[in-house]
Assembly symmetry: C2
Homo-oligomer: 122 residues x 2
């Protein structure tokens, strides 16, 4: 089941993270915690429109078709990719907004960054 | 062994990610892929100076001492925390710069975001 988009916006560092929010956010980081999936995202980002047909993904990544299919499933369930059927082929496309949400969730609070800079300058 | 800081700066989405870079970056996301570790980071971020003594971490998180110790080890090895001994106690502190690096690694290329916005407007 896809992870709810709203839950992923919970900031890690600017509020107290509730257990349920932590569960959902951790599952997205686990989806990113595989080198094959990161390379797949990187490959898609380099394609026109950030998308590719599933049939074009196995060779450049040097992964088997079942492995690529598994990675695509995990990334789609984490809302990092969306897919679209065109005729007999399935196309997968990056969701940049989702990656921006993750970025925002990791952003350190400004007061913390300032306090660290002050400490480093001492 | 701590992950090399330079390797973690490899951008996922603005260049072709090499296998070795993907391995190192994936290991950092795996460190974040646990709800207990995310709550630990969140708790530290809420403390003055983004730090706390290890003895103050178990109760608010509702985790056992060995579990907290394991999470601290994983986060420190991923360079997400740094530690400092003060007398008999060990203090753990967030490394906001590391989180900013991760954010930058996930940033989608501008041309991709623009192309997605154009598509959505059609």
């Amino acid at each position: 089941m896809p992870i709810r988009r709203t839950a992923c916006c919970a900031p890690v560092l600017t509020g107290r993270l509730e257990p349920a929010q932590a569960d959902e956010l951790a599952s997205v980081f686990r989806a990113l915690g595989d080198p094959g999936r990161l390379r797949l995202l990187s490959f898609l980002a380099a394609q026109p429109g950030g998308e590719a047909c599933v049939c074009h993904l196995t060779e450049p990544l040097g992964l088997s078709q079942p492995t690529v299919s598994h990675h695509l499933k995990v990334l789609t369930e984490a809302n990092l990719l969306e897919r679209e059927r065109r005729g007999t082929w399935m196309y997968y496309r990056l969701r940049p907004a989702r990656l921006e949400e993750l970025c925002a969730a990791l952003a350190p609070p400004r007061k913390l960054t300032t306090s660290m800079q002050r400490r480093a300058a001492q």
